[in-house]
Symmetry: C2
Subunit: 460 residues, 2 copies
């Protein structure tokens, strides 16, 4: 019997994790695996780009988990610079174009198909937005282009548009390269993935780091110089000179092909799947990573969350199921962690506005504590905000802003959310304690105690 | 109506946390609170002593959470240097002796009694063990005595007996003071709170730090010089010169008074309580901290675990219940974290021998991963060992040995244990990911994946 044909569209985290896992389970004579990747790189850590740009990491090689050659040695036919341009589901084939070979087109048949097409950066349709010197940072190709642009920049002023995770990480990267950095954020505070009161702490810290952070700034366009290169970013109120512009406005699911093929998309435009990451209503098509919507276990809603850690998990699950095994991806609780210089920023669960939006009644508390015992060298303040459902006391979310050791503390809350714990149950958690690691009451426990009291005081 | 009389025996973490919490709930005209403390210090962090001795913390003041004066200002009658010498339960009174006042004795009546008598260091009955220059490190008084002894020491050789948490922390402290340090450990590996394979990693690291670590060493006595001061520690095989000797052999519950009064003790000698920390069979007596046994939620057994974080929680629970509120202490999962120089050591749940002892069948896996993304500066290896129950796949325990950021990762497992998660459920945990904080698969997730496969392979 001929081998079954597995075709994978997209050769980054999800696609290649799926390929590797499927290959572990099924030999080449049972399953032939072909993966198409349109960029110059596969299997890489896009999350590492800010650190490559900042000079902390030797890129791009260090960011590549496994080279195309290594994949091919494992009997995965990875074809680089091949763009898939059409899905023909009826005939079970995909059309590809070779980007480095005169655009040669061909069709490849599949028995099973994995869509791992990722996301594309939001790029508002503003004058000058496509000028040289304006950069997204979604792919290694983007990172390479930005580094070239920095080398060519006439001066050392950078404007970052958007103060979300990518925006603040890029601000740090550019500070490290001795750029004067201005971050323009449309919201009332940077990090709109946090509540505004916690975002304000980030704003304060960024200003103290010498990063000019402009809030409530609506970007209206990019001005260019005589050569057509970006020279300034304009907002409704002002003009910010820029030798380089970085866009950190988040991403959208890249599902153009899927939409054209009539596959089911959710409100955010991401593909809809079942728990095994199979596209809804499809027997032989799976999808994962930045191009799908995932179930938020706290709100019960579908959301689009582009994160490498989910993408890798999806790839594993898809590979197991495609390979004849069994695995599921139950959903997320909305955990994210980042840093800007020495400030650590983390969240899990719901923000206030998210909890409101799904009809939850809740209490919030915020505590200031220290990462280590107060007397231990290096003890630094950290803020923990906690949301709990009224009446039930169920944990709904945690946000943390602090210094060393603050960010990963969010994991405790992520597990508690997954387990459906109440904040009162959390007060008894047996967390690791020793003076170099934590005060005798870990900051998360301090917040849980205060939230427990708030739930009690709030009544129903 | 006269105020109710609350008497507290022991003025450290449990006793004073109970006092403070009870005072928050009840005014002085409703509840009079008297606490007796035999040492020179109250409300302090004994866990901080190694860092005081090592010169990282200015002691003892920095280690004191709240001074006697501050307690008194909150209407808590804290009497220092008062030793309680007898509990007369029939007549509801305790006998005290004033240690600085000619040993004056008196009786104090109580309506409610809290026993927070702590623990005492194990001190084997060996020749020379009580000689000057041999020190326990249980109280601030002990810390002070050790520092005086170090000042008076004729040379700079230290022997630490016992390579548990206190032993390794004191080894680090003495290294910081430029002592040549030898650690003598009776077990096959240091840190017998870990499985031997993980303890071996600690041994290796300690040797690399220049800490001579002798395994399988049975101490037979302490040799003294002409003045009677310790000059060497002898084992069955050798003699180790020592200008100072530190005992880190663990502690036993200090329940002499409770035993004499006929209160119920468990196998370890710790007091037995209910979930509200009330002594079993007693209506008006509570106990907590290092003098009680606690329920191990993983094994279902009672254990004695002396840890400041439990002591503080017990105090809160006792204070709430004594003050007419409601709180419980459900139990522990056996979490502990420590470090020796830059090596972080953590555990939660059961070791192999503990799981065997309670009749559990299990699989074990160990993984080596990095604390951060492999390419990110400061990425260092860490080892994670995981135990899971056969057939059910329930998580039973985790041990971690690694560098920066390794230790507190045990908290994820502590919450998962509390929630009764399986290792397969853990593989989907939404833990914080960004390159400075974690590889895209957090080491705990890597271990969970491997454990999931091991459970599947092991069958029933």
């Amino acid at each position: 019997m001929a081998a079954e044909q597995l075709v994978i569209v997209g050769g980054d985290a999800t696609g290649m994790a799926a390929a590797s896992q499927a290959r572990r389970l099924r030999k080449p004579d049972e399953l032939a695996i072909t993966a198409f990747e349109r960029s110059h790189f596969a299997s890489y850590s896009a999350c590492g780009i800010p650190y490559w740009v900042g000079g902390e990491v030797d890129g791009p090689d260090a960011l590549i988990a496994r080279t195309p050659k290594e994949h091919r040695a494992r009997d995965i036919d990875l074809r680089m610079r091949h763009e898939v341009t059409e899905l023909d589901l009826e005939r079970g084939r995909v059309r590809t174009r070779e980007l480095d070979n005169g655009g040669r087109e061909s069709w490849t048949g599949f028995d099973k198909l994995v869509l791992a097409t990722g996301a594309r950066p939001r790029r508002p349709g503003l004058p000058g937005i496509d000028a040289p010197g304006v950069h997204g940072v979604q792919t290694l190709d983007d990172g390479r282009a930005l580094l070239d642009s920095l080398d060519a920049a006439p001066g050392r002023r950078a404007v970052v548009v958007g103060a979300g995770y990518i925006g603040v990480e890029m601000a740090e990267a550019l500070i490290r390269r001795d750029y004067e950095v201005t971050v323009l954020e449309q919201s009332a505070q940077p990090m709109s993935t946090l509540d505004p009161d916690m975002g304000a702490l980030v704003h304060e810290a960024m200003c103290a780091m010498g990063i000019e952070t402009v809030r409530g700034a609506t970007v209206t366009g990019v001005l260019t110089d005589g050569d057509g290169r970006a020279r300034a970013v304009t907002t409704e109120d002002a003009e910010y000179p820029a030798d380089v512009v970085v866009l950190g406005l988040g991403v959208r699911p890249e599902t153009t092909l899927a939409a054209a093929a009539g596959l089911p998309l959710g409100e955010s435009g991401g593909l809809l799947t079942d728990l095994g990451m199979r596209v809804r209503g499809q027997e032989h098509i799976w999808a994962g990573g930045d191009c799908v919507e995932v179930l938020d276990l706290v709100s019960g809603q579908l959301r689009h969350i582009a994160l490498g850690t989910h993408a890798n998990k999806h790839g594993q699950v898809i590979g197991a199921n495609v390979g004849g095994g069994y695995a599921t991806f139950p959903g997320v609780v909305g955990t994210a962690v980042s840093k800007v210089c020495d400030l650590e920023i983390a969240r899990t669960g719901l923000l206030e506005r998210q909890a409101h939006a799904v009809g939850l009644r809740f209490v919030t508390v915020t505590v200031e504590a220290t990462n280590r015992a107060g007397y231990y060298p290096g003890a630094r303040p950290m803020h923990v905000k906690m949301l709990a459902e009224r009446r039930t006391g169920r944990l709904l979310g945690v946000q943390i802003v602090g210094r060393e050791g603050a960010g990963k503390r969010v994991d405790v809350a992520a597990v508690a959310l997954t387990a459906g714990m109440t904040v009162e149950q959390m007060t008894a958690l047996d967390l690791g304690y020793a003076p170099p690691f934590s005060p005798v009451w870990d900051p998360v426990l301090v917040a849980a105690r205060k939230a427990t009291a708030a739930v009690r005081d709030a009544g129903a």
